[in-house]
Structure formats: structure tokens, C-alpha cells
């Protein structure tokens, strides 16, 4: 049924996440200002927190479904900070790809490691079919030889290994792209630097360089079979991953937007400005009306993101909805943080408060995991029943 009321159990899970997020937030400014440092794996408060905050049971039959709840919990966690965690998830984006496309043997061997995922190259942006990093099979040694450069590798410093996109055959375009598992320390695999960014500065986004880097044949994600089965190869595997990651990426940005709204609401209330949700259009102080519009935008984005996750949980197709949630959130977080700054004035851009940081951090939402433009392409193709060739 259509229902929007969380259960007690749901609420306990949200509260748990929020209590943890509040601790993380204490470190948010520090790691933003010290981008050369890595946020720690666990915080000093972590053990005490978990001792005092027993784990919340997973959703029961009457509760909000796991993935839907996860969307909301992500928002709440990121509401604390984008990067600092009580305890870092050991996995990266690459772990999701491994889960989706790895062979049983690969899963067994690599699951314990933190895997980053390296797709973007200096010249390819949102267009993964332009991947020019090459993988050539050396039949004699049964090794792949990898050459190329990658940028914007999330968790690229922290990761133990990478799921790397490379092409076997440039002329085959998308079809020639496969994913490879490569451990750090493999000769020919360099990590030249951490990127300096507008926001999410503590996040270890890295550049990778591969020069005649040799890896075992078995490191082709999905195994040799993935080469044979042309149209269900690596690319589709990763796209499948994206169907799960797009709404979660949206949720992360929305957590920052929600933090911005909460901060702004507090400031308005402290200044004695009432928010009258029954007032007619145009009749309140402009800051209040503007604020409510931003809240409505947030709420719309929040629900849309949870819906995309709910569909996944129900095992229903959610390709369009995933893109809708990502596109919506990408735009919403830009508008919300800008609006909050405009409402608050000078204190909105002061580094004494976190609003300016949230503004910078969440700007990534409309860019990574497919820009807003890419999401709109996907949505438009869906609406128009167009293929990739029909609408570019």
C-alpha cells in the first residue's frame, strides 16, 4: 500500500544514524580544511557510541523495506558529513561491481578488500564508451597488459585494489569495454596524486596511471565468459550497478541539502521568523516563503529517491526512476544550498558555519555517477522509446 509513515523500528534506525552523524559532524570542518590528511577509519568516539547505541534490528515484515530504509539512512548519515564516518564502510564502488558481476571465485578472493572503481579518463567525462585505457592479453604469459590514465577515482587512495574499465578493442566501442581487478602495488600501477577539489575535500579522489601493468588473466571481472557474451558484458554489469548506486548517490547529496535546510530553519527561528505553512501565497516574509519552497523541493527529491530504492527492493525495474531520482536530487541540492545562502546572507558563506561546505560538497551530486545531462538522456530515451543511437 501507499504509505509514508515510518514504523517504530524504522524511526529507531533513523535515530541511530542521526546520533552517529552528529558525532561525525564535529570533524567535518577539520577534514575539509586539512585535505592532505585522510579522515580516520574510526573516530575516537566510535567504540563508545556502538557500546551505548545497540544495533537496530533489520526491517521486519511490517517495516519499511531494507533498500528504502537504506536510502533514508544514507541521507541521515551524510547529513552529518559527506566523508567522516564513525566506522568507514570497508567497500568502495568497486565492491558493488564485484558483487554484481564477479565470478564466485573472484568474489571469494576480492570481497574482503576495499575496491575503488576507475572509469573516467582525462578525455572521456561522462562518456564511458570513450574509454581509451587498453587491456591486451599476452597469450604467452596469460596476463593482461594494462595501459592508460584514470581520474576522479573515488576512494582511490584508501582502496586496496581497483575495478578498472579498459577496452579490449577500441573499434568495438562500448562492446569492447571490460572490467579488471588490480591490486595496489602491482608493478606499473601508480597513484600520482589526490585531486584538489571544490568540495568533498577529505574524500580521497585519486588519479591512477597504468604503464605496462601486468595482471593475471583471471582478473577479468566476470571471467573469460564475459568476453564471449558480447551483449551482456562488463558494461551492462556496471550499468546494473548504477541502477542501485544512482539513488544512493542522490541520497548522499540530499543529506547535505537537508542539513542546510535544518541549519537555515534554526537561524530563521532564532531570528523570530515564523514559518506559517497555512499562509496564502505571497503573504509571508519572503525568506519564509522561499524557505518553504526549498523544503518542498527537498521533500520531492527525498521521496523520489526512496521510491527508486523501494522499486529495487520489490525487484521491479527502476532504470527510469533511478535516473529521475539522480537528476532531481542533482538539481535540488544545487537550488537548496544556493537558496539557503541567499536567505541567510553573509553567515551563509562564512566558514564558521557548515552551510558553505555543504554547498561545495553537494555540488558533486549532479556530476558523478552520470551528470544530470546524462540522466536526462536516459529519461528522454525511455519516454520516447529511443535507443542510444536515436537520441544522443
Amino acid at each position: 500500500m501507499i504509505d509514508f509513515t515510518p514504523t517504530e523500528n524504522d524511526l529507531a534506525a533513523f535515530e541511530h544514524a542521526r546520533a552517529g552523524a552528529l558525532i561525525c559532524r564535529k570533524y567535518a570542518r577539520y577534514y575539509d580544511e586539512h585535505e592532505e590528511e585522510m579522515a580516520p577509519e574510526t573516530l575516537p568516539e566510535t567504540d563508545e557510541f556502538y557500546a551505548n547505541h545497540p544495533e537496530i534490528p533489520p526491517p521486519g515484515a511490517g517495516d519499511t523495506s531494507m533498500l528504502t530504509r537504506m536510502a533514508r539512512i544514507s541521507m541521515i548519515s551524510y547529513w552529518g558529513d559527506y566523508t567522516v564516518r564513525l566506522r568507514r564502510e570497508s567497500g568502495g564502488l568497486g565492491n558493488a561491481a564485484l558483487e554484481a558481476a564477479g565470478t564466485p571465485e573472484q568474489k571469494k578472493k576480492w570481497t574482503g578488500l576495499c575496491l575503488s572503481m576507475a572509469i573516467t579518463e582525462p578525455g572521456c567525462g561522462s562518456d564511458p564508451s570513450r574509454v581509451s585505457t587498453t587491456a591486451v592479453l599476452d597469450e604467452e604469459t596469460d596476463e593482461w597488459i594494462i595501459n592508460g590514465e584514470k581520474i576522479f577515482v573515488t576512494t582511490g587512495i584508501r582502496a586496496d585494489a581497483v575495478v578498472l574499465w579498459a577496452t579490449l578493442d577500441k573499434s568495438a566501442g562500448r562492446g569492447g569495454i571490460k572490467s579488471f581487478l588490480i591490486e595496489k602495488g602491482t608493478p606499473g600501477f601508480d597513484v600520482p596524486h589526490k585531486e584538489k577539489k571544490l568540495g568533498i575535500r577529505a574524500d580521497d579522489t585519486a588519479a591512477y596511471v597504468f604503464r605496462d601493468c601486468r595482471i593475471p588473466r583471471a582478473n577479468l571481472l566476470g571471467g573469460d565468459e564475459s568476453v564471449a557474451r558480447k551483449d551482456s558484458g562488463g558494461f551492462r554489469g556496471v550499468m546494473k550497478t548504477f541502477n542501485m548506486t544512482r539513488p544512493l548517490t542522490a541520497a548522499m547529496g540530499l543529506g547535505l541539502a537537508e542539513a542546510s535546510l535544518d541549519f537555515t530553519r534554526e537561524q530563521l527561528e532564532a531570528a523570530g521568523i515564523e514559518l506559517d505553512y497555512m499562509a496564502g501565497f505571497g503573504t509571508q516574509i519572503a525568506a519564509a516563503e522561499r524557505f518553504m519552497r526549498l523544503e518542498a523541493l527537498f521533500e520531492a527529491s527525498k521521496l523520489t529517491t526512496m521510491q527508486a530504492c523501494w522499486l529495487a527492493g520489490e525487484g521491479k525495474p527502476n532504470n527510469m526512476e533511478s535516473s529521475v531520482s539522480k537528476a532531481h536530487a542533482g538539481g535540488a541540492v544545487r537550488a537548496i544550498t544556493q537558496g539557503c545562502i541567499e536567505i541567510l546572507g553573509a553567515m551563509g558563506v562564512s566558514r564558521e558555519n557548515l552551510l558553505e561546505k555543504w554547498t561545495r560538497d553537494c555540488r558533486i551530486t549532479d556530476i558523478y555517477e552520470g551528470t544530470g545531462e546524462i540522466q536526462r538522456l536516459i529519461i528522454a530515451r525511455g519516454l520516447l522509446d529511443y535507443t542510444r543511437a536515436d537520441l544522443k
Binding site: 496564502g280 501565497f281 526512476e321 519516454l383
Partner: protein, 364 residues
């Protein structure tokens, strides 16, 4: 439990209303707009769907099904996909009947609800909007003065839907800081019903103004009698209703533009292959989907008796902001053809603007 799945019953309602909207409403929408009227026959055939009576209590002759604001939001989206004005007309008696069912005293229910359970269309309406710039629904200028066992109402209302034929009006009025709803019979002394108001759009939903000149009603005509009523909750129902209509209208625009843009060739290819068009369609879809979630959330809160004030505002605010954008861009996608009255998009543009500023004209 947060969940986005319709019940099977809701899916059935949706499908039935979708068919009705396509087969009955959409074909006559243009004519109703041009003639600024809705025929008795059409109102009667809508009435026979039982949209109002089904969810009224069995003891007063209704279908006795539990009222579901969510189901009502779903059906309004579908009806409005046929035509926004006719959708609002279709459910207009519920504006009055549901307020009685929710907040009326036993005597009021006994007196009024049976009218809405008969076989014949029974019009009655809600009077919220007042003349003059800007609307403050919860701060009416119409006053209700207590005089002994009576209330004396004075003021003006506008945009009262189907007011030309309504038997009763539920009039919002203020007594000092307290706002109440009063049941006013059409024939009460001091009530003047204006000529049909001429509007930009929604012309298939005739509206009138009311002049209330010292209209005396009994203490028993205050909705809820001594208990009063929760006017904010009534208004929340209308805000959600209007958002649901805007949702249906917005989806209609999108679904008209998609095939149109695939057919329409310019500069050697369908205009749908231009990103400026394709991305606009995507944008419409994004906002339609998001708006539906807001409408469902607000309806669900209302249905469960939770405070629906914030979420109703969100739905209505978002519906206006994006519904107006979508209706406006429907015209732009069609270009010159969007400007002529051969296609419905110009009508939807007028509907959207009209719907965006009228309070209390449709409810879930």
C-alpha cells in the same frame, strides 16, 4: 511503513478512471471550455460513478467504504488527465459532503449526507476564495458574528464552483481569531449568487461569487455545531486535491508532447531528437513523478489523521511551481501549433494558471 505500492483495488480504480477520462471527459473538454458550461447529462453520468457516495457512511445511505484520500488522489490524477475542469466538477459535491462527514454533528450528517447518496447529482460547494488581491484561506475577511442562538455572516466570496446550481454552501468565516465553516442554504435571506464568473481557464467548471449580507444562520449550522471543525484540515484536503489535479494535467501535457514531438519534423529530423526538446520532456517527467510522490504523501498523512499541514503545502507549492512550468512548456514544444485552439495544450495552459490560484475548488 514507507511504501509506494498501490493496492490492487487502487489499481482497479486507476484503470477505470483512466478509461472514463479518455472516453468521456477528454472528448468533450474542448466544447465545455468554449461554451463555458458542463451539461447536466455529463454531471449525471459522472455522478453515477459514485465518487462521492461510495465513501459516505452506510448509515446515511452511502457505500460505507472507508474513505481513502490516497485513492481519491489517484482517481483525481486520472480524471484530470482527461480534463482538469471536468475532474474538479466531477468531485465537487465531495467538497461539501466530506466536510460534513468528517466534522458534522450527528444532526448535520443526518440532514445533509443522504442528499449525496441518491441517484441524482446533488451539487453543493465550498466557499473559500474572496475578492481582491492575494488569498489567505485561513484568514477570511468574511465575518461571523454570534447573536444569541444565531450567527450573522457578512462578506463576499468568489470562485465558488458549480455555485450556480449548488443547494448549499460551506462558507469559511472568521469570528475574531477563530475561523469556522458555516452551512448556508442557497435560498437563505441575504445570499446573492452572482452571474457566472468569467475566467481564463477551467471554464468547464462554472464558478460564481457570493454576497453575504447579514445572513442569519442558526447555531446548528456551524459545522460541528458546538465542537466546531478543523478548518485547516479541510483546506489541506483541498490543497492536496488541487495538487492532484495539477498532476493529472501535467501528465496529460507530457503524454501529448511525447508523440507530437516524435511526429513533428523540423530541420530534417523529429524535434524529439533535439536535446532542447528531449531534455524538456525529461524535465516534465521528472517533475510529474516527484509531484505524484508529494501528493501521495500528503494524502496518506491526511488519510491517517496525521498533521498534513506541511506536506500539503509542499504538494501544492510544488504542483504550482512545476505544473505551471510544464503547461507553459507544452505550448513551447508545439510551437505555433501550441498557440491555436486545435490542440489541447493551450487549454491546459489556461487551466493550469487558473487552477494555481483558486483555493478550495477540489479536494481529495
Amino acid at each position: 511503513m514507507i511504501s509506494f505500492g498501490m493496492t490492487e483495488e487502487q489499481e482497479l480504480v486507476r484503470d477505470a478512471m483512466r478509461d472514463f477520462a479518455a472516453e468521456v471527459l477528454r472528448p468533450v473538454a474542448r466544447e465545455c471550455d468554449e461554451t463555458e458550461s458542463i451539461s447536466e447529462d455529463l454531471l449525471q453520468s459522472i455522478w453515477e460513478l459514485g465518487l462521492t457516495s461510495t465513501q459516505l457512511p452506510a448509515e446515511f445511505g452511502g457505500g460505507g467504504e472507508p474513505r481513502s484520500s490516497v485513492t481519491n488522489a489517484i482517481l483525481l490524477e486520472e480524471l484530470a488527465h482527461g480534463d482538469a475542469a471536468l475532474a474538479a466538477a466531477a468531485v465537487s459535491p465531495s467538497l461539501f459532503a466530506n466536510a460534513i462527514a468528517d466534522f458534522g454533528s450527528q444532526a448535520q450528517k443526518e440532514r445533509y449526507l443522504p442528499h449525496f447518496c441518491g441517484e441524482k447529482f446533488y451539487p453543493a460547494s465550498l466557499a473559500v476564495v474572496e475578492p481582491g488581491p492575494m488569498t489567505e484561506p485561513l484568514k477570511p475577511r468574511t465575518v461571523a458574528e454570534r447573536k444569541g442562538e444565531e450567527w450573522v455572516l457578512s462578506g463576499s466570496k468568489s470562485s465558488v464552483v458549480l455555485g450556480d446550481q449548488a443547494h448549499h454552501f460551506l462558507v469559511l468565516a472568521r469570528n475574531d481569531d477563530q475561523v469556522d465553516a458555516f452551512i448556508v442554504d442557497r435560498d437563505a435571506e441575504g445570499v446573492t449568487v452572482s452571474e457566472q464568473e468569467l475566467t481564463m481557464g477551467m471554464k468547464g467548471l462554472p464558478m460564481v461569487g457570493l454576497e453575504l449580507e447579514r445572513v442569519h444562520v442558526s447555531a446548528g449550522d456551524r459545522l460541528g455545531e458546538e465542537a466546531g471543525c478543523d478548518v485547516a484540515q479541510i483546506l489541506n484536503g483541498t490543497r492536496i486535491g488541487q495538487a492532484a489535479v495539477m498532476l493529472g494535467l501535467s501528465r496529460a501535457v507530457l503524454e501529448f508532447c511525447v508523440p507530437y514531438s516524435k511526429d513533428r519534423v523540423a530541420f530534417d529530423e523529429p524535434i524529439s531528437k533535439k536535446q532542447s526538446i528531449a531534455f524538456r520532456l525529461a524535465e516534465m517527467h521528472i517533475h510529474v513523478e516527484a509531484l505524484r510522490n508529494l501528493v501521495w504523501q500528503a494524502a496518506s498523512f491526511l488519510e491517517h489523521g496525521e498533521d498534513a499541514t506541511r506536506v500539503s503545502r509542499f504538494a501544492r507549492t510544488y504542483a504550482n511551481e512545476h505544473g505551471l512550468w510544464i503547461a507553459d512548456n507544452g505550448i513551447q514544444v508545439l510551437g505555433g501549433h501550441g498557440f491555436i485552439r486545435e490542440h489541447p495544450v493551450e487549454m491546459w495552459f489556461r487551466h493550469a494558471r487558473t487552477l494555481s490560484v483558486l483555493e478550495g475548488t477540489v479536494a481529495v
